[in-house]
């Protein structure tokens, strides 16, 4: 057998194989006798048909069968001999074979690029400063305040500005082709900018149980396209009047929010949480930048199959998130071919990052132990309130443990990269090396 490897481009390899007819004979006759044993020919008992007849009748089938197994066999042999590992099933072309002729074919496939990363140690990177501004703490507090706002029922008076009216309504659009809009238990803040002025006007001074009718003319640039530019006749009924009760920011509030001794303690905790999440983002930003630098310093080709697969993964993930939100991807006004193209460029980076991290893990002999995987699974189980064993067996069955292993390994590689880097503070002074 002769094998010849040609680097066609980047990660693409073409392996031309030629096998002498003599070494093919045993395989060919094995296929023939298989047909002789199994073929049913009228006039003959099974297995008693003469070979000459078998060869006449099943010529093309035997040839196909033989080529399939022979190509497979010699391709594997050649790959082993040349130490090549195709990323996907090789594409076989220029296949030629005849009686007494050698078997010739060319297999095309892609292999992982050979990486010789230089200079991933001691890369200089500017530290991203982490600071928590008081406004951010205030904003979080305000959000908490809003979450803890209660709506207290009001009895014995009519709606005033600032109240919340609980209403049910039926809106009849002037365009008879459009459907009537109906809703119940709608919280409508009277006097707020978010409420339509017509509603504000009509609700002011209304009592619980009152009914009002009025017409709303929507502006042409109204965000809801269904309603934009049309007139709707509303019949509303005030079900209930409630007063917004916003809790005051004091120690009592801190206690209600989650067992904090004082407001100051709550603020401290919020500040710490924000700092931690910012620190996390800064860390991963820095890690990302490091990998980017490595990729820029060490240009290499990426296999098209991997990019293709990653692009599909990205598109599928996006479609899945849309579905999870209850949006069918086909209803969206997206140019899918263009979207695909955009995802493709991102996928190239994804693949490069993955390859670089894998390479670094190998070079620095970073391994992931089974205990680390178990710990990750345990965390997942706790988040979803499921038994550890159940989650583990499911993930193992789905083959997801390998993905978890890869993720942990990548995380470790990234952490190592950052620890090997020379981190500078904004003044350019190296603070860690």
């Amino acid at each position: 057998m002769k094998a010849d490897v040609v680097h066609t481009s980047g990660c693409q390899r073409a392996l031309t194989i030629e096998v002498e007819p003599d070494s093919l004979k045993p395989d060919y006759s094995a296929v023939c006798s298989k047909y002789q044993r199994q073929a049913r020919v009228p006039g003959f008992r099974r297995g008693k048909t003469p070979m000459s007849l078998i060869l006449q009748r099943f010529k093309s089938e035997i040839r196909e069968d033989f080529l399939e197994s022979a190509v497979q066999k010699y391709l594997l042999e050649a790959l082993k001999a040349e130490k090549l590992e195709p990323l996907a099933h090789p594409h076989v072309r220029d296949l030629s074979f005849g009686e007494g002729e050698p078997l010739r074919f060319t297999a095309e496939f892609e292999v992982l690029p050979e990486l010789h990363l230089r200079g991933y140690r001691g890369l200089e990177i500017e530290r991203i400063p982490v600071e928590v501004r008081e406004e951010e703490v205030d904003a979080t507090m305000k959000a908490m305040q809003e979450r803890m706002t209660q709506y207290v029922p009001v009895i014995g008076r009519s709606v005033q500005a600032g109240d919340v009216a609980v209403i049910s309504y039926a809106g009849k659009p002037s365009d008879p082709a459009k459907k009537t809009i109906e809703a119940k238990d709608i919280y409508c803040e009277v006097g707020s900018d978010n409420t339509l002025p017509e509603f504000n006007e009509n609700l002011l001074g209304a009592n619980a149980g009152d009914e009002r009718s009025f017409t709303v003319k929507y502006a042409t640039d109204f965000p809801n396209k269904e309603l934009a530019g049309i007139e709707v006749e509303y019949d509303i009924e005030v079900q209930d009047i409630r007063q917004k009760h916003v809790p005051e920011l004091n120690d009592e509030f801190a206690k209600d929010a989650g067992q904090y001794g004082s407001l100051e303690e709550l603020r401290k905790r919020i500040r710490e949480d924000i700092a931690a999440s910012k620190q996390q983002t800064a860390q991963s930003d820095m890690q990302e930048k490091l990998v980017e630098m490595i990729i820029q310093n060490n240009p290499f080709d990426v296999p098209a199959v991997m990019v293709q697969k990653q692009t599909e993964n990205r598109v599928n993930d996006y479609a899945r998130t849309l579905l999870a939100r209850g949006v069918h991807p086909k209803t969206l006004d997206i140019d899918w071919t263009e979207f695909h193209e955009r995802q493709k460029t991102l996928a190239v980076t994804d693949v490069k990052v993955a390859l670089v991290l894998e390479h670094i893990a190998e070079r620095e002999s970073i391994t992931v132990t089974d205990e680390e995987i178990d710990a990750d699974i345990a965390k997942r189980a706790e988040q979803t309130h499921q038994a550890f064993e159940a989650v583990k067996s499911r993930l193992t069955r789905e083959g997801a443990t390998d993905r978890i292993r890869d993720r942990i390994r990548n995380k470790k590689s990234l952490e190592l990269l950052l620890s090997l880097a020379a981190v500078k503070d904004p003044q350019g002074i190296i603070v860690q090396s």
């Binding site: 006039g43 003959f44 008992r45 008693k48 003469p50 000459s52 007849l53 006449q56 009748r57």
Partner: protein, 97 residues
């Protein structure tokens, strides 16, 4: 019978037929039911350009076949074993099956 092709319908290739061909230089054909041994002999001689020593024939009655409530018969047919004269070159009729 005027036409040799209306006498000889097809060669019969079976285990028995191949054995006879090997051992007794005898060919086996399905022939027209109305053909007699002499006509078969002439036809084989003319068609394959060989000399025939003897012809044995046997008649087969068509088997009964049923399609639901209708029943009928497959056609009757005749088989002929044609022994070639000693020293005649064997015909390879199975060449282009």
């Amino acid at each position: 019978m005027k036409n040799v092709f209306s006498v000889i319908k097809r060669p019969i290739i079976t285990e028995k037929g191949l054995d006879k061909k090997e051992d007794e230089s005898t060919l086996c054909f399905e022939v027209n039911v109305h053909a007699n041994k002499r006509e078969v002999k002439e036809a084989v001689e003319k068609l394959f350009k060989v000399k025939v020593a003897s012809v044995n024939t046997s008649n087969f009655y068509g088997k009964q076949r049923r399609r639901g409530r209708y029943s009928g018969f497959k056609p009757d047919w005749k088989k002929a074993y044609v022994k070639l004269k000693a020293g005649e070159k064997m015909i390879e009729y199975a060449e282009n099956v």
